[in-house]
């Protein structure tokens, strides 16, 4: 395969995706394509299906895919278990990171890293190598080493939890990172620190989907493309200026006949 063809290849190709939660349809024909290395922002009002989309990509059980397809690299993503998706390089930074009392962050992260490495048939990392790796990543995301010995997200502040997600991302080195409302519950300083961590991980072939309600996160994590989601469909796409437009005008324009404006592909 030539370098040119490789460039054209999509890392993610979502076609006509319909998904429901407990019988109610949330995604109603979603289309989205990402090239390696791109950062796409998905914006939209509450209830538009942003988080559902993030969770469907990660394979959460409560979300039922009714129709459509998702190609991820050479794989049919919807065929894979959540842990297989993770091992194949999909990482979801949770909106509400879950705590696991009694299990240290370090132990959890090493278990995760070794699970991924076993999947790829790579040798597991021992405690010494792991510590070295994790220390360098902690520096990268500006995280205090003390958090390594604390239980996973247990008693963490909102900012610590989100930073911990970014640390996990840094260690697991995914190909496609999905940030689900990473800005929620963060003050502006915490937001900046988290965004800096994400920016440090940008580059190369790593792609990002940044799901957010507000434009402010996109001041720090500048996207290549912005999509507006409404009632489970992408109704507008544009470059980063679209985010500013939304900031000024809000989402109220969606309510008046968004269908007409739907899907003007800008990229």
């Amino acid at each position: 395969m030539s370098a040119h063809e490789n460039e054209e290849k999509m890392i993610l190709d979502v076609k006509d995706l319909h998904a429901s939660v407990e019988g109610s349809p949330i995604l109603n024909g979603m289309n989205l394509s990402l090239k390696p290395g791109e950062v796409h922002a998905i914006m939209g009002p509450n209830g538009s299906g942003k988080s559902t989309f993030a969770n469907v990509l990660a394979g959460r059980e409560d979300y039922t895919v009714e129709k459509g397809s998702v190609r991820y690299r050479d794989l049919d993503l919807l065929d894979l278990d959540p842990e297989e998706r993770a091992c194949e390089g999909i990482f979801l930074a949770f909106q509400y990171p879950v705590s696991i009392p009694g299990i240290s962050n370090a132990y959890f992260l090493r278990s995760a890293l070794n699970a991924v490495r076993r999947y790829k048939e790579e040798p597991e990392v021992d405690a010494v190598d792991f510590l070295q790796l994790v220390r360098s990543k902690m520096e990268l995301v500006g995280m205090d080493e003390k958090l390594l010995q604390r239980s996973v997200n247990d008693g963490f502040s909102g900012g610590e939890k989100k930073r911990n997600e970014i640390l996990q991302m840094a260690v697991l080195d995914p190909k496609l990172a999905i940030l689900d409302e990473t800005d929620s519950g963060l003050d502006i300083d915490a937001l900046r620190i988290v965004a800096e961590g994400v920016n440090a991980l940008r580059g190369g072939d790593r792609s990002f989907i940044v799901v957010t309600h507000y434009q402010r996160l996109l001041d720090y994590i500048v996207p290549d493309h912005v999509h507006v989601l409404s009632e489970g469909q992408i109704v507008r796409s544009g470059d980063k200026t679209l985010a500013h437009e939304l900031e000024r005008e809000g989402y109220s324009w969606l309510e008046s006949g968004h269908a007409a404006e739907k899907s003007q592909e800008a990229s």
Binding site: P82, L92, I100, S111
Partner: protein, 480 residues
């Protein structure tokens, strides 16, 4: 593979220790009357005072009724159907471990407690009790140099009658309850341990209990006395073959800590739990109690209960000495049709006595798990303190967790705290782990181990590792 399938697969794992050892045993016929007791005494060559003690206990037992207050459903035990004495037939008189029946040694090796290995490599002295009698005690000689006595109960009766007589029944009188009365009448062996003044026992002492013969009840007796200023850490492990009937295990453990003495007693209980349909399994009805007799003494119970069809016990502390300390750390796991009604009693008598209770109950399958505990601060216990924390975790929606904390305070200066939580192992937690590449099986095991961490950290190192493994095996098809 879905979560449910994954867990079902785990569930189908079989009980690892369910084999039967083929040794000839020397057993009494089933049934219990005064002649049975006389026969036990005769076979064991016991002194008259012990016969008297047993007969008094038996006569008292006959006046008692099988208690039914625990939150468990059990089959009626017919006490006349049980065999009260079963000993592996010795090929000849045993002088040392080398003369123990090789079949027996092999059994213990299968259980991962090779006495030979223990003797050579590790720093754990082991007393192994097979059915009713103690078959081998390691390291006795080495311990004897320090004045520590660690031997089978039968041997203690012969060699140290004054100590046994002084302390037997001093913490758990035969009148205490139905099972302690029965045990006092028919106990056939167990372990005895005495740590002299000022001696810190340099190694873990360990007893391994194994029920082998069919239709037997196991009634062992453990007595540990820590003299002034001494310390000892004691471990207890248990397994049994798979059998369709419910076998009764009714042990009595008594601990006595004199002034400034510390006893740490750890149990990893893995009796056969019955099959996935709830057939068979051990009835583990045990009375365990420690007396903090001297000032500044301390008794600490740590238990990991993963086996038995029914676990029904309350390792307790009587805090008699001023400034004495009692601790209870417990993990009880019930899966399939297992039931547990367990907890502790902390009785505060002395001034400034302190107790800590940390209980973790895990219910899976259709298991029922009850914490029942009493904090009893008596009138004279000035400035007593208690902290209790009882956490329950539910895996799946067919199991149950119950908490019955009793608090009785008769001194206004007491401070008693109780915290309780119940959580369901979260699908959120499992998905979070999955999303990081961790399989559901590993995720469940990790979450449960995290839940139990405060208790596992109280176990001696080797035991902590074993307990974690055991938990993973016992989780068997947890979330459904």
């Amino acid at each position: 593979m879905s979560e449910a399938e994954e867990l079902q697969k785990l569930a189908d794992k079989e009980y690892e220790f369910g084999f039967v050892t083929d040794v000839e045993s020397d057993s009494l016929p089933p049934g219990l009357d005064e002649d049975t007791i006389r026969e036990i005494v005769k076979r064991k060559g016991e002194p008259d005072w012990l016969l008297e003690y047993r007969l008094k206990a038996f006569r008292h037992w006959q006046t008692m009724e099988d208690p039914a207050w625990a939150k468990v459903e059990k089959n009626t035990v017919n006490y006349q159907d049980l065999i009260y004495y079963s000993a592996p037939k010795p090929k000849k008189q045993l002088e040392s471990l080398d003369e123990v029946d090789p079949e027996l040694l092999e059994t213990f090796e299968k259980l991962g407690i090779s006495l030979e290995e223990q003797k050579r490599l590790s720093n754990v002295a082991v007393d192994a009790v097979f059915d009713s009698v103690s078959v081998a005690t390691t390291f006795s000689d080495k311990l004897a140099e320090l004045g520590i006595i660690f031997c089978s109960f039968s041997e203690a009766v012969k060699e140290h009658p004054e100590l046994v007589r002084k302390y037997l029944g001093s913490v758990v009188p035969y009148t205490d309850n139905f099972y302690s009365a029965l045990n006092s009448a028919v106990f056939s062996d167990g372990s005895f341990c005495y740590i002299p003044k000022g001696v810190a026992c340099p190694m873990e002492l360990s007893t391994y209990f194994r029920i082998n013969a069919a239709g037997t009840g196991q009634f062992e007796r453990t007595l540990i006395v820590a003299d002034e200023g001494s310390t000892v850490s004691y471990l207890e492990g248990c397994t049994a073959p798979m059998r369709d009937e419910n076998q009764l295990h009714a042990a009595v453990v008594e601990l006595v800590a004199l002034e400034e003495a510390t006893i740490k007693y750890s149990t990893v209980q893995n009796w056969y739990p019955g099959d996935a349909d709830g057939v068979g399994g051990i009835y583990n009805f045990v009375t365990k109690r420690g007396l903090c007799k001297g000032d500044r003494s301390k008794i600490s119970w740590t238990q990991v209960e993963t086996g038995s069809a029914i676990t029904w016990k309350y390792p307790s502390c009587i805090l008699q000495g001023d400034d004495s300390i009692g601790e209870f750390y417990s993990v009880a796991l019930t899966n399939n049709f297992q039931q547990a009604d367990t907890g502790t009693k902390m009785v505060h008598l002395g001034k400034r006595t302190k107790s800590t209770i940390i209980s973790k109950g895990i219910s899976a399958g259709q298991g029922q798990n009850t914490y029942r505990g009493l904090v009893d601060v008596k009138k004279g216990a000035e400035d007593a303190r208690n902290f209790s924390q009882c956490d329950s975790m539910l895996l799946g929606d067919r199991c149950g967790a119950h908490t019955f904390p009793y608090v009785e305070v008769r001194n206004p200066s007491a401070k008693v705290e109780h915290e309780a939580t119940t959580s369901k192992i979260g699908e959120d937690q499992i998905f979070y782990c999955n999303q990081r590449g961790i399989s559901t099986e590993d995720a469940v095991s990790m979450i449960v181990n995290g839940f139990c961490k405060e208790v596992f950290s109280e176990l001696p190192m080797e035991f902590a590792v074993e307990a974690q493994k055991l938990l993973a095996v016992s989780l068997e098809g947890s979330v459904g």
